[in-house]
Subunit: 294 residues, 2 copies
């Protein structure tokens, strides 16, 4: 059994594990996100006793992050508004302290890799993992590889058709107002309805509206990426009644144009919850490490 | 010099070439698209004299097409409404007659590969080629590879914000009404304004509206794919005044959130016309062949 390390670097806490797969975890810790120096110091202290036995480490980080290996700020969190973390070198301290092969990617690409390796995306080479919660973000695998590019996907920030007569809510995104995240994130639901999403009753009109915005975004993903499966996680998606609503709405929106078995016959297996539940993030980090030695 | 073949399979005509690169074309022919038997027969007759010297053949086809090599209908045009071409085997007749390694992809993936090999996308591994004309379609390279997935990209069919007070036009897409293709293709402009797009004067309000829809679609592509460059071709884009309008509108829509040099400083090099002009399609087919031997 090869020992691996995983770091899910979040804006609130860093989840760290040592293990070889979801069934074999040797050690686990949560460290609050304060300053880079303090937090990264404590995280490294956790891994140091394992440094000699670790085969690889994976870091799945909140962002935006620099994923260009040739860039001078590779492995940095770049333009985040989070105090103290603007242009913070996340990868460097690990490399300097641990001398272990280390993979670095976005938190959502990590989650997509984790679902592909051990979760609900096994064998699915073209996969989207989308999280809908405080924010909306997505990771993308194409031909089994996590996708980067100019930057990385920012799947929550596309603009959707937004009928202001039906839904006059202006949206909460500080950059885009009523982009997808602006009208469908957890905070947008809280602000629109005056109740936290997890308190809204199952028969509330919030849910079909939410499902419609999610289906519109998924329709765009299907047209642009043609994924073979879409995994929907995050706090808002814990309201499981969203799944059948999203599936039906997406089918209506596509209207038979994308004439595949996945959409026409098997949509119940096409849009599904994460297999790793709320551990998708930290196990995703472990899966990034696993990819380095596979 | 290695001799290659290229077939751009279009709904109106098949463009065929034999050569090694854009500067070295040995033979070229256009064959009208009638029935599969007649058209494919004539195309194969054109290539037969070269069969022994061809190193590879590339076919870039109109679609939808089946791109799954393990599928029983690999290389077929599938659900097209075009008479006679529904479930037509395009690849098979070439394989049976020519015995040459043959690549098969969408017309727009071919164009993207061609621009990457010889045109305006050289060295750009994450590239979009979008054509806006009779229809709207796009090809995508990620890490230098043409992207497939469940099906292939259908970049013209996502829904965009459509302000019916400003633009009450209902759209022309038979499947989706006012999707991107429905409100921004050449035929939609013709129908909205009662004049063909190529006849609309440069100061007509059609152009800023068209640029806005294109910018909205590009904003979604940037959020979902994070391409390093976007090439815009097709008949509508021959109105070059669209380029500065689209660039400015996209920057406004992104509003500083995607904080990259490409967007903030170099947007004039980020959104550009094809380097291969209206030969992107057939040279793209040649480039598909070139990839097989490179």
């Amino acid at each position: 059994m090869e020992l691996l390390g995983g770091v899910e670097a979040g804006g609130t806490k860093f989840n760290c594990i040592v293990g070889s797969d979801p069934e074999h975890i040797e050690a686990e810790i949560r460290i609050p996100t304060t300053t880079p120096q303090e937090t990264l110091g404590k995280v490294i202290d956790f891994f140091l006793p394992f440094a000699k036995s670790l085969k690889a480490l994976g870091i799945a980080s909140f962002g935006p992050v620099d994923l260009h290996p040739n860039s001078s700020t590779y492995g940095y969190i770049t333009s985040t508004p989070k105090a103290g973390w603007h242009n913070a070198d996340v990868l460097g301290p690990f490399r300097n302290a641990l001398h272990v092969p280390t993979a670095f990617d976005t938190d959502v690409n990590g989650a997509a890799v984790g679902e592909y390796r051990w979760g609900a995306g096994q064998g699915i080479e073209n996969l989207i993992y989308l999280t809908i919660g405080t924010g909306i973000g997505g990771g993308v695998l194409a031909s089994g590889q996590p996708q980067h590019g100019m930057l990385h996907a920012e799947m929550g920030h596309l603009y959707l058709p937004h009928d202001r007569q039906k839904d006059p809510f202006k949206g909460v995104c500080p950059y885009h107002g009523d982009c997808f995240e602006g009208i469908a994130s957890g905070p947008s639901m809280q602000q629109r309805w005056g109740i936290s999403a997890d308190q809204l009753p199952a028969d509330h009109p919030a849910w079909p509206l939410e499902a419609h915005y999610i289906a519109l975004a998924l329709q765009a993903y299907v047209c642009i990426l043609s994924p073979e499966r879409i995994i929907l996680g995050g706090g808002v998606m814990q309201q499981l009644l969203l799944f059948p609503l999203v599936r039906a709405d997406l089918k209506t929106l596509l209207n038979g144009y994308i004439n595949t078995k996945e959409i026409i016959e098997d949509i119940d297996q096409y849009i599904i919850p994460p297999g790793l539940g709320n551990r998708a993030g930290v196990l995703g980090a472990l899966a990034l490490a696993d990819r380095l030695i596979s």
